[in-house]
Symmetry: none
Subunit: 410 residues, 2 copies
Amino acid sequence: MPQSKITNIMIEFEHIKKLSRTSPSKIVLLIMDGLGGLPHTKTGKTELESAKKPNLNRIARDSLCGLTDPVSPGITPGSAPGHLAIFGYDPVKYNIGRGVVEALGIDWDLKPDEIAARGNFCTVDDKGIITDRRARRIPTAKNTELCRALNKIAINGVEISMLPVKEHRFVLILHGEALSPDLADSDPQQAGLAPRKIEALSPQAQRTAEIANEFVSQARKLLRVEVSANMVLLRGFSRRPDIPLIPEIYKLKPAAIATYPMYRGLAKLVGMQVLPGGETITAQLNSLHLYYADHDFFFVHFKTTDARGEDGDFRAKVQAIEELDNALPNLLNLDPEVLIITGDHSTPATLAQHSWHPVPFMLRSKWCRPDNVTEFSERACLAGGMGRFPAMEIMPLAMANALKLDKFGA
Amino acid sequence: MPQSKITNIMIEFEHIKKLSRTSPSKIVLLIMDGLGGLPHTKTGKTELESAKKPNLNRIARDSLCGLTDPVSPGITPGSAPGHLAIFGYDPVKYNIGRGVVEALGIDWDLKPDEIAARGNFCTVDDKGIITDRRARRIPTAKNTELCRALNKIAINGVEISMLPVKEHRFVLILHGEALSPDLADSDPQQAGLAPRKIEALSPQAQRTAEIANEFVSQARKLLRVEVSANMVLLRGFSRRPDIPLIPEIYKLKPAAIATYPMYRGLAKLVGMQVLPGGETITAQLNSLHLYYADHDFFFVHFKTTDARGEDGDFRAKVQAIEELDNALPNLLNLDPEVLIITGDHSTPATLAQHSWHPVPFMLRSKWCRPDNVTEFSERACLAGGMGRFPAMEIMPLAMANALKLDKFGA
C-alpha cells in the first residue's frame, strides 16, 4: 500500500496510540469546508480578508496559527482526503473509494461484504455512444423511480441495491460472497464514446466484473424506453476500508455534527458518533451544547463556505464566513480546552472549485503558545507559530494541547 | 517565520501520473544557475540584494515566493541533483553519474550497454605526480586531436570512444558486454598526488576495472610526448539510468533552452526536447518565442550567475543578475500561464563554489496566492507563502497553477 513520506514520525498511529490518554478536557474541531481562498481581482483581498469577522480575529489573537497542506503542496484534495488528513489519517494510505464515499453520503451503512460504485444515469444514441453523461440531469423523483425498476434486476449469487442520490446520480451496491472491488470504471468520463466494458483489474475480480457487466446489460434493456436516462455509467468500485478508529488511536469519545450526509459518513467511518445537527450553524452549535457532556471530541462541519466557493460566488462566501463568525459566541461560551478552526482544503470563489492552496488554521488552548497573528486570514496565518504544515499534524497538536498525550521516551 | 515540513506524499510519480492532464497552458521554468548568495562582507548585501533588478522585483510582487532546499538542509548539490530535484525527481534515488551527464551533454546518445566516464587531460611530472589537473586548459582543438589519437587504443572485448568536450575535458565511453560502472575514480581531485589505480567496487566490475586501467596505461604511453596533456584522469564511471520521463509523468511536451551541454544532457535524460539556444539570455529568450507554440513546458537555463559565483567575482555575479533582469521583458510579453524563476542551488561569490544555502524561488500565475514579498532576494523570500520548502515540490506546484492536475480522492 502506498504510504506518504512523513517526517513527523510520531504521526504513525502505533506511536500516538501508546502516548494517548483519556482526560476530561474537550476538543472542538470546527471545519469550515473549503475555507481558503484567493484574492478578488478588484480588491486584492481573499474571502476571509474581506469578511467582517471580529470573533474569528479575536480567537486568532489568542491562538497558535498557521497554514495547512491537506495532502501536499500542489495537490487538490477531494473532501474525503481533506478530512481524513485532519483526523490524522495518511490520505494516500487511506484513499477511500468514490463508491464508498457516495454510499456513506446517503447514510447507507456499508457492510464489509458489499461493493459500492458511484453511478450516473446517462444518455446514449442508437449506436450506444454517450451523448450526455448526466442524462440532462433528470429530476431526483425520476431517478428514484428508475432505481426502483433496476432494483428488480436479478443476478445469481449477488444482491443488488440501486440507491438514488440527486438528479442523475445513484449508488450501486453489490452484496455477496467473494466479491472484489478491483474493477475499472465503465464511465469513460466524456461524451462521444461508448461506455466501457467493466474490466477486472485482478484475477479475483473476474466474477465481480461479469456480475457488473451483466447488471449494466440488463439495465440497458430496462432503460431502453427512456428518452434521457437510457443507460448507466459506473465508477469508483470500492469496499468499506478497514481503518483504525479514533476511539482506539486517541482514546477519545468522538462525536460529529454535520449537515451533509457525506461528512456524517466519513465521521462514522473513523468511529465518531453522529449527533443530530440541523440545517444551520446555529442549530449545529445548539446540538453541541446539548451533547457537550457526553463526548470529549467534537467535529463540527460547516459546509456553506465550500458550497458558495464552488458556486463562484465571492460575496456569498464572504457572507458564509460572516454567518459563522456571528454564531461563534455560542461556541465560545462553552470554552472548550482546545478549539481548532480550519478548513479541509481551499475553494477560492474565483476558481469555483477545490484547490491546492494551503488552508488557514488556528488552535486556541490554555497551553498553546500564541504568536503575533491578530487576524484570521491566509496572509496573516503565514506568519503564525505553525508556519505551513501538513494537516496530518493537527491531531497530535490537538491532543497535546488538551493534555491528552504522555511524554515520549525516558 | 513560515516553514514547510516535507510530507511530499504526492510527489511519488505513481500518484502525479494519475492526476496529471494535458491542457493548453504554458509553464516557463527559468533556472538562474547558482542563484543564491551570501552577503558581501562590506555591504552586508547578497548578490541578489545588491543587483538592480526592477523586473525580478515586479514579478516577486505578483508571485508566490519562498526558498527551496534542492536536496535537504546542509547538503550542497551538484548540478545534476540540483536540476533533477526541480524537475521532480528524488535526487537521492536518481543519482546520475558524472560520466553519463557529460556524455549526454555532448549529444552522445548513450546506450544501455555503454559505460561513460568524465575525463580530464592533466599534467604529471617525471614521477607521475599531478602538477595540473586541467593540463593548463589546453585548447579544444588540441583536445580533439588527442582524443583522435587515443581512439586508436585497442583492448580485447571492448570498443573505446574518446569524445572531446571543451578545453581539457573529455568523455570516455566503454562499449561492450558485461561491463559494470561500479568503479572508483582515478582522479584524486587534487594536484600533488599520483592518479589512482581504478578499483572495482564490486566483484562484477573486476574485468571493467582491468579494461579501464589498461586504457589509462596505453593512454599514458601515447601522451608521453605531450608537454601539458601528458596523462588522463577519469571519474564518475556510470551507465545511463532507466528513469521515468517528464512526458510520461506529467503528460507535458517539454523543451529545454540551455547554452551549456551538461544541462542539455540532463534535459534529454528526463525526456525534454532540446531547442537551439544561442550564447546569451537574449538569444535564448528569442528561441523561446520561436518555439513557444510547439511545447507546453520550457526549461530555460541561465548559466552566468553560477559561473561568476564560482569565479568568486561578486561584482560580476551581480552584473549577471542585472543582465538577466534586463532581458526579462522579452519573456514577460509572452505572459506564460505559469512563470517560475529560481536556481538549482546557491553559489555565493564569497565562497566561490556551490553551497548548501536555500535558493530564492518565485512562481507567478493567475492562480497563485500572492504573499507580501515585494523583492526577489534571499531574505525577502523567507517571508513568502511557500516559506522554506523542498525543490521537489516545485513541479506539483507548477502543474497545479497551470491547472494541469486533477483532484485527488473522492
